[in-house]
Amino acid sequence: MPDVNMPKLSDTMEEGKILRWLKKPGERVAIGDILAEVETDKANMELEAYDEGVLSEVRVKEGESAPVGAVIAVLAGADDVKPAARPASRPEPAPAPARAEPRPESGREPWRPTVVRRPEAAAEPEGGEAIKASPRARRIAREHEIDLRSLRGTGPGGRIVEKDVEGAIAAGGAAPKKEAETVSAPEAPPRGERRMELSRVRRTTAKRMSESKREVPHFYASSDIRMDEAVRLKATLADLGGEFEGITFTHLVLKAVGIALTRVPEVNASYDGDAIVLHDTVHVGIATAVETGLIVPVVHDCDRQPLGALVRQARALVERARAGRFESADLIGGTFTLSNLGMYPVSTFAAVINPPQAAILAVGAIRDVPVVEGSHVVPGRLMTVTLSCDHRIIDGVIAGRFLAELSGLLTRPLALVV
């Protein structure tokens, strides 16, 4: 029947007040459980159990004080339990046992020191271990509202370092601490100007796009592609329905890009400091506007999947993205990006590369234009695409070869369905 005594928690402490019992009589107590909060002359402390058993009796009520050494509670049923070593996970040393006299009213054993833990010493309230992260990683995580607990550290000894947090940010932000909300404007905006807090997605876009434009030497190559056949093919496939239901020009371009990338693999690449990384897989991201900003769901294996399957996959992804139900897996692994503004009256534009990818394709609207065929001017349908390339690893000739392949595939689009 071990007693629980009022510990001496400071040199000047003579008595302590029980602020709150965290265990009730009848409850099981394990070593290390917090029994009570005690107010001393210096601070509020937590009183940790040194023995295990069942709390059988509480002798000092909440709000009452007891002198150092007094029995404040009794644990029962622990007599046959071997005195276990203190768990190693409690780094706080016990305070030096005070040479307090056993109180006469205890009458049994002299009191034992009780392990005491300051509440503020418990770093993670959820009971997790202290997170090992570099200060830089912590700062960036704070700025992007990334929860460090959701990350795996790859630094020395498993430390979370900058790269790990950047990885999470790139993947759209791991488990967010709190949803970054658009802050509503104050009731009466002073001069017709409102300040919108950046959403997490927007912040990531801002950071990555400035990085890209700052660090990646872009060059641009454009091509006007005859789309007459592709327009007919798309109409035919749309009529067929089935897996082609909801087919768009984006899907046709996606398939054409997939094939062109296998024919000019230098474009399906990443820049990695001292190396060009050529990707064997062809995973194409589709830049997609969502409420909170811009995200890039990735359609896998655009070279191998038949057009119908691509249509299904791309539609599902974009739908999930727009509904805000996308997962981080939807956004990673891209080797190339497609940005299509063809649904707007945009004839041509140049996109910013999504690093570390080597290139991005900007797709404009299909226009009715006069085209010279032999010695005749005929009505034609033209679409202008612009390839932005990372000049560190792609030269103009490669861009030209890629656009030639792409143009060929879209001009005679049967290859996309066979």
Binding site: A170, G273, V296
Partner: protein
């Protein structure tokens, strides 16, 4: 803009002294063997013939004495350059430097300035054993009132020595025997490098190496090797230990997130300790790893050359420390992800 020519570190120092002595008749050079023997390491070669015995003065082997004479001369308005044959011998005159040179302007409430330069080679050369191989800059940088300057290239040697001679406070100017023959481009004529301004000698994004003097070359070699492995080290040459160019250090560490200090001196209470303390305090939130240092081992220098090589910081040790800071080698391509077009 003066034309750069390739000359040695030794010639750059000589040129700095000669140009300044031409410019200002209150400057004189004093020390052991600086005159008739033409300098123990031939730094002052030809200066006696050019400026005469009143301005290039041979002394007995008595560091306390001639350091004190120099301090007295500075107090009454001359601008002495005091040469120690090596900084190891300055320890005899340590009291003169610490208690007189560093303190008199302060204790006289500014009635005197002390425009004096103490110069000579410091650090290890080859097999000079424990008493003659010491890098003592932290001893002098410890003392408020002394400036400590340590060039690593011939151009910096010239520009810094000229600036040190023109400075109105006592300057400890530490050269290196093994760098005297180092060649480099040096502007002819007026070329001043301000005291207290560091110089980034190599740009890099992955780690900052803070260093000075001879260790600059060790660090640059290491940086070359690291570059082969895709690790880009930025090498910051302090040039002046005190006043310390903290902003240059912090700016670099803020970019790279990692800091390594490479010094020739011993680890305990060395300049590296001070730099790392400042970095941890001022750039804490930018650190991606605990700062590291590479120093000489904490022992008196062995005489045996193979052991000497073990004690001194080497490019290999710098490379190893950088790899520790980075945790591992660069991993392959990161996955592409959100962000995107337009």
């Amino acid at each position: 803009m003066p034309e750069p020519r390739v000359i040695t570190f030794r010639e750059a120092l000589r040129e700095a002294m000669a140009e300044e002595m031409e410019r200002d008749p209150s400057i004189f050079l004093m020390g052991e063997e600086v005159g008739h023997y033409q300098g123990a390491y031939k730094v002052s070669e030809g200066l006696l013939a050019r400026f005469g015995e009143k301005r290039v003065i041979d002394t007995p082997i008595a560091e306390t004495g001639f350091a004190g004479v120099g301090i007295g001369a500075a107090m009454v308005g001359l601008r002495p350059i005091i040469e120690f044959m090596t900084w190891n011998f300055s320890l005899t005159a340590y009291d003169q430097l610490v208690n007189n040179a560093a303190k008199l302007r302060y204790m006289a409430n500014g009635q005197f300035t002390l425009p004096i330069v103490f110069r000579g080679p410091g650090g290890a050369a080859h097999a000079l054993a424990a008493q003659h191989s010491q890098a003592l800059e932290s001893l002098y940088a410890h003392v408020p009132g002394l400036k400590v300057v340590m060039p690593a290239t011939p151009a910096d040697a010239k520009g810094l020595l000229k600036a040190a001679i023109r400075d109105d406070d006592p300057v400890v100017f530490i050269e290196s025997e093994v760098m005297y023959a180092l060649k480099g481009e040096v502007p002819a004529g007026e070329h001043l490098v301000p005291l207290g301004v560091a110089d980034v000698k190599r740009r890099g994004r992955d780690v900052t190496i803070v260093t000075w003097a001879k260790m600059l070359h060790t660090s640059l070699k290491a940086a070359e090797e690291l570059a082969q492995a895709g690790i880009e080290a930025e090498v910051v040459d302090l040039r002046t230990i005190r006043p310390l160019d903290t902003e240059a250090i912090f700016a670099s560490v803020r970019r790279t997130g990692r800091c390594l200090v490479v010094q020739e001196g011993w680890p305990f209470a060395g300049v590296a300790s001070e730099i790392i303390t400042l970095v941890v305090r001022e750039a804490f939130d930018d650190l991606d790893a605990p700062p590291e240092r590479v120093t000489s081992l904490d022992v008196p220098m062995p005489y045996a050359t193979n052991l000497e090589a073990l004690v001194l910081p080497s490019p290999d040790r710098v490379v190893a420390a950088v790899r520790r800071l980075l945790g591992r080698e660069q991993s392959p391509a990161r996955p592409a992800a959100a962000g995107g077009a337009r």
